[in-house]
Symmetry: C2
DNA sequence: TTGAAAGCGATACCAT
DNA sequence: ATGGTATCGCTTTCAA
C-alpha cells in the first residue's frame, strides 16, 4: 500500500542501503546517485516509516506531552508552543490530558513512554518521589514545576508575585486575600511562599483561602469567603479562579474594582475579554512549551550531562480594569 | 534496556510465539503455561513494543487528531472527548494544531498518517477535492464537516439555527445580523444556509456581515458594522465572535441586551463566565470527539462498508443574559 | 561509493 | 498446545 524504501530503491535502480544513505547521510553517496534517489523518493511520495526506523535506531521521533486539563486555556497555549517547536524539529506530539486526576498521571506517562523519546510534563500534580521514579526511566522535562536534578521550565514566581503585590499596595491595599489552587500544584505552593514573603516585606495583611480547584467554579465557590474576610483586594491562584470571583462578586452586587480589586495569574486570552477586564500576571505559555521541547531535545542529545538544564522565564503584570484604588 | 518478548520467553521457559499467544489469544494456550507467562511478564514489567507490533500487524494503536486552533476553547473540548474515548479503546492520540492555516492541513495529515491507524479531522478548512484525495489514502473521520461518502460527526445545524432564530423572534426581533466566520469553514456555510432558510420562513430581515476569523478579535472588528446595520439582534458564527461583539458594544456604550441582543454558537465555558452571560446554542463538543473516535474505530474494523457512517448530534439553546426583548 | 546481510521486537503461519 | 521461521520497513555493519 504505502510506498516503502524498496519501491524507491527499485525506481532509482539502487539498493535500499543507498536510499537510506542518500536521504540521511547525503555526503556519503555520489551526487548523481543521490539526486536520482531523491527524485525517485519525491515522485513516489516516499516518507520513511518512523516506526520501523525507530525499531532500529531506538528513536521514535515522537515526544509525549501531559497536561492536567485542556479545559483551562492556560494549557492549550502551552500545547501550542510544544507543537510548534516539536514540528520545527520534526517531532510529532502525543498528547494526554489527565483531567486533574493526580493518580492517573503516572500510568499515562508509563503508557506514553514506550512510544516517545521523551516527555514534557506540564504542571504535574504527582508527588516528588513518584516523579523521581518516573524520571529514572524516561527522559522528562518539567514545565511549571521544579525538582532537583530534573530539567525544568518555570516562571519567575517570586518576581511575578512581587509585581502583583506592589501593584496592589501602590493602589493603597493593605489587606489582601489569596485564593489558593490545588495543594498538589507546585505553582500554587510557590505562589503561596512568594506571597507570604512579599506580604511580610510590604507589611500587608494576608488572608489565605482555599484550596479550590483551579477552575471558574473554584473562584465562584471561594468568593463569599473572600467577602467575609473584609479585604480590599484578592489574588486568585489563576485567572479562572479570578474570573469566578469576579462573576460571583457581580452577582452579589459587589463592584469591581470600586469595592474590591481582583487580580489573577496566567493572562489567558479570556482575561482581556471580560468586563471589567482582569488584571493579571502574564506567564509565558507558548514560550514555556517551546522551551520545554528545547530542553528535551537537548536532554536527548546529551543524555548524561551532569547538571539538569533549567530555564526561568520572566513574567509581566498586565494592569486592566479589575484593579483600582483601595476604598479606604 | 527495555524488557522484550524474549526476556519474558526466557523467564517463562517458553518460546516467543507462546508469549504472544498467552498475552493476546489466551484461549489458545494451556492455562498453566498462560499463567506462567503472564506472571513472568508482570514481574518483568513487560509491555509489547507497539512500533514493532505495528510493523507486522499494520496497526499502530494510535489515532491522529487535527484541529484548527487550540486557542478556541471549542477545540480543547473536542480533544478531551477524543482522548477519553481513545484511551478507553487503548489508543493513543497524536495531536496537531494547524493554527487556522488551511494550507498546512494536508501536509500535517500526511505526516501523521504514517504513524496512526486513522485520523479524526476536526473542522478541516481544506477544500472538498483535497479532502477527497486524503481520504483515499487514510481512514478519516470528519467532525464538524460533511462530505459525501466520508464518515462524519456533525451537529443538527438547521435545527440549531431554528432554535436561535425562534428565540429572537419570540423576543420581537425582526431585523438580525449574522457575523460570518471563515468562508472555508463548513460550519459557517451550513449556518449561513440554515439562517437564510429560517429567516425566510420567519420573515426576518437578515444582514450578513463578515467574514472574520472565528476569534474574539473577529467579533470586535465586526461590531461597528453590526451597529451601523441598525439591527436589534446579532448572531455570531461562534461564541468567541459573539464575545468580541459584546466587548466592543460595551466599549461603545451600547447596552446588551437593552439596545441589542447577542447570540453565539458553541457554548464554550467562557460564555457563562462573562457579564452579561452569553446566550448561545450549545454544540456537542466532547461528545463529538467521542463519536468521532467511535466512527473511526468502526471504520477500522470494517474498512469496506458501503455506506459511510454519519452521526448527527442534537444541540441546545442556552438562554442567558445577552438576549432580551427587542427595543421596538 | 555501493550492495548484501543481519537484526531491531513482535506476530503470523506452518509444522509438529 | 507449542516452537521455528519468515517477515514487517528500515538502518547499520561489513565487504567489495
Amino acid at each position: 500500500m504505502a510506498v516503502t524504501i524498496k519501491d524507491v530503491a527499485r525506481a532509482a535502480g539502487v539498493s535500499a542501503s543507498t536510499v537510506t544513505r542518500a536521504l540521511t547521510m547525503p555526503e556519503l553517496v555520489h551526487p548523481e546517485t543521490r539526486d536520482r534517489v531523491r527524485r525517485a523518493a519525491a515522485t513516489l511520495g516516499y516518507h520513511p516509516n518512523r516506526a520501523a526506523r525507530g525499531l532500529i535506531t531506538g528513536r521514535t521521533g515522537n515526544i509525549g506531552l501531559l497536561v492536567p486539563d485542556l479545559g483551562n486555556p492556560f494549557f492549550p497555549s502551552v500545547v501550542k508552543g510544544v507543537q510548534a517547536r516539536a514540528h520545527e524539529a520534526d517531532y510529532a506530539v502525543f498528547l494526554a490530558d489527565t483531567d486533574e486526576d493526580e493518580a492517573a498521571e503516572a500510568g499515562l506517562v508509563r503508557r506514553l513512554s514506550k512510544q516517545v523519546d521523551g516527555i514534557v510534563l506540564c504542571s504535574p500534580r504527582m508527588p516528588d518521589e513518584e516523579l523521581r521514579t518516573l524520571v529514572a526511566d524516561t527522559p522528562v522535562v518539567l514545565v511549571n514545576r521544579r525538582i532537583a536534578r530534573v530539567p525544568s521550565v518555570t516562571a519567575e514566581f517570586p518576581d511575578a508575585m512581587r509585581q502583583a503585590v506592589s501593584h496592589l499596595t501602590a493602589l493603597g491595599h493593605r489587606r489582601i486575600a489569596y485564593v489558593a489552587g490545588p495543594r498538589s500544584a507546585w505553582a500554587n505552593r510557590e505562589r503561596v511562599r512568594a506571597l507570604r514573603l512579599v506580604a511580610g516585606e510590604m507589611s500587608v495583611d494576608l488572608v489565605e483561602i482555599g484550596n479550590v480547584l483551579p477552575m471558574f467554579e473554584g473562584g465562584v465557590a471561594a468568593a463569599d469567603q473572600v467577602l467575609a474576610a473584609r479585604v480590599t483586594a484578592v489574588i486568585g491562584f489563576n485567572d479562572l479562579i479570578a474570573l469566578g470571583l469576579l462573576n460571583r462578586f457581580t452577582a452579589r452586587g459587589v463592584a469591581v474594582p470600586a469595592d474590591i480589586s481582583v487580580l489573577g495569574f496566567d493572562d489567558i486570552a479570556l482575561a482581556a475579554m471580560v468586563n471589567p477586564s482582569l488584571t493579571t500576571v502574564a506567564l509565558p505559555k507558548e514560550q514555556s512549551g517551546r522551551a520545554g521541547v528545547d530542553l528535551l531535545l537537548q536532554l536527548l542529545a546529551e543524555p548524561d550531562r551532569q547538571t539538569a538544564a533549567r530555564r526561568e522565564l520572566p513574567t509581566q503584570l498586565m494592569v486592566r480594569g479589575s484593579t483600582g484604588p483601595a476604598n479606604a
